[in-house]
């Protein structure tokens, strides 16, 4: 088998399986088994891709339709996009596992699993594509299926949340279209590798700066970064648990991926400007997200604000831009995906026991008495988010802070270091309300709820990565070595 097909498979398997799954709609169990099988297959394919890329030491490129590089669309699996794709597929498979065992009505709809597979396609495709316009198409696929999955939520405010999410993402897509138009008129190409080469050779065309700003806006909306975050908390309050567990953990990483690509491939010369913006936005976001999470009324909303804060840490690391800081950003992003998905699933599973399904603290106070396992997992996950050993969150934070010391950026370091304490405050406040407060007399929790297997697996994985962190750190450092030499990427795509 030629290796280049490995880049295509994670993007090809989910939509094909989704089409077949629609045909299987009258057989619920067959459809679920088929779709879950497809999800696992594509996870295995992307892991194989990562393994091959890492052991071969060069990117795998697939030219669609055999059109040579700058003219056709290329799918590029270099170490960064393969790592991100594996991370996404891992959490998506976890989310799917949760959907199989959850009691939401909406997971019973015949279109639920196919839409989930399309979400996986959009996300993986956006990470693996080597073409700016193709990125737009995949991002739209992602937004359409994500918004449709939210609109069918059991929560009566699902449509409102879906509308806000879709509307804002649509505006962001307009920004991406404008950016690709501006770059096309300046350089006559949309291939990322070709663009990188041409921008480095001649950064003078007047539309380059607007394109850069528009791309920053697009990725900030995708990543729900501080000034563009407003859709995110509302979205998480109302979306079905398996959907927002995926959206808050890996879909926001599209923004992180975008910033890593922008600063190390597309705009290497102008990277200093972008980095300065990212440090400020990240440090403000850490505080804003942390304080927002402390002041909220709903467990899921709290975790959504917490995502703003945690992404702030990653953005600050990208902003420092030293090799150690970039490696820290990748490790931190990986850990945050696992932990945040698990935490949101646990909050959703507690909410599924409430008499009326909601994660508002007023409704779920004391419900944890019947769920000791969920309590243990929530405590572990919270420790991971706050960066307490032995979970993997500690490794990420340690790398981040030591890179800050190395970069001698003491002011932002102090700001985000203090904000780390806020994480402890909100996580343990939630733990206390759900597991330590006695159950009110008049509340009758449901005897059944969502299964805990998916969050248990994710927490176990993050515990394993916390104790044996070496493979992930090695991977991150190898990725950073590749990012430091964008010529490798360009040469692999364009040939020669």
């Amino acid at each position: 088998m030629p290796t280049d097909i490995l880049v295509l498979l994670p993007v090809l398997v989910p939509p094909t399986a989704a089409a077949v799954a629609v045909l299987l709609r009258s057989h619920r169990r067959v459809q679920a088994a088929w779709a879950f099988g497809a999800m696992l297959t594509s996870f295995v394919c992307s892991s194989l891709l990562l393994w091959t890329v890492w052991s071969n030491g060069r990117p795998i490129v697939y030219q669609l339709g055999n059109w040579p590089a700058p003219f056709g669309i290329s799918l590029v699996g270099d170490l960064l996009s393969a790592t991100m794709a594996v991370m996404c597929q891992l959490v998506l498979a976890g989310g799917f596992l949760y959907a199989l065992g959850c009691r939401d009505q909406c997971a019973q709809y015949p279109a639920f699993y196919p839409l989930f597979l399309m979400l996986a396609t959009g996300l993986t495709g956006a990470m693996l594509t080597g073409d700016l316009f193709n990125l737009f198409v995949f991002a739209e696929l992602l937004v359409f299926s994500g918004a449709a999955l939210t609109a069918v939520s059991d929560d009566k405010f699902g449509t409102e949340a879906a509308y806000k999410y879709f509307y804002i993402s649509f505006v962001a897509s307009i920004a991406l279209l404008l950016a690709s138009g501006s770059l096309y008129v300046s350089y006559g190409t949309l291939n990322l590798a070709d663009l990188a080469q041409r921008i480095a050779a001649d950064p003078s065309p007047p539309l380059v700066l607007p394109a850069m700003v528009l791309l920053i806006i697009f990725f900030m909306v995708k990543g729900a970064v501080m000034p563009f975050h407003f859709w995110q908390p509302d979205f998480h309050t109302a979306a079905p648990t398996p959907v927002h567990a995926v959206l808050s953990s890996v879909v926001v990483k599209l923004g992180i991926y975008g910033f890593l690509r922008m600063t190390t491939l597309l705009f290497v010369e102008q990277a200093e400007t972008i980095r300065a913006v990212l440090v400020v936005v990240g440090a403000v976001g850490v505080w804003f997200g942390g304080l927002g999470a402390v002041g909220t009324y709903d467990a899921k909303r709290m975790l959504a604000y917490s995502t703003l804060g945690q992404l702030g840490f990653i953005l600050v690391a990208i902003g420092w831009g030293t090799p150690l800081a970039l490696a820290a950003a990748i490790v931190y992003a990986f850990n945050h995906s696992l932990l945040k998905a698990a935490m949101l699933m646990l909050a959703g599973s507690v909410a599924s026991r409430a008499p009326v399904k909601t994660a508002a603290f007023a409704a779920i106070t004391g419900l944890g008495k019947k769920l000791p396992l969920a309590g243990v997992l929530f405590l572990l996950g919270g420790m991971g988010l706050a960066g307490i050993p032995p979970l993997n969150g500690f490794v990420g934070k340690l790398m981040l802070f030591s890179s800050g010391v190395e970069a001698q950026a003491y002011l932002p370091l102090a700001a985000i270091g203090l904000a780390g304490i806020v994480t402890l405050v909100y996580v343990f406040r939630a733990f206390q309300r759900i597991w330590w407060t006695p159950l009110p007399e008049d509340v009758k929790p449901k005897p059944y709820g969502d299964r805990l297997i998916a969050p248990a697996l994710l927490i176990a994985l993050s515990l394993a990565l916390g104790i044996w962190a070496e493979p992930l750190i090695n991977l991150a450092q190898a990725t950073v070595a590749w990012m430091a030499t964008p010529e490798w990427y360009v040469r692999a795509v364009l040939g020669g």
């Binding site: 409102e160 509308y163 879709f166 279209l177 949309l190």
Partner: protein, 110 residues
Amino acid sequence: MEILKALSIGALFGIGLYQLLRRNIIRSAIGLAITSNAVNLFLLSVGAYDGVVEAYAKAIGQRSDALPQALILTAIVISLGGFAFVLSLLYVISARYRTGDNDEVKGLSH
């Protein structure tokens, strides 16, 4: 021709962005549609190589660039689907909240 194109793109952007910022949710949805059409027109005008003969023709001469048109075609289809989705969501929202005012649609913010 060039100035006409520039003016019409500018006018569409102006109208679209103004409507997008209105308080009425139906107006802001229409603003979204107008803005996405302005972007389509912008993409049409970015043809990097202005040719004198059409692409893939046998005639000799500077060929025109077919790629922006392919881009617009994709963008039109996607924005059409998106607008249909926005309208269907608006239908549900306006039936449920009985209002067209942005500030009244706030079931999620406390």
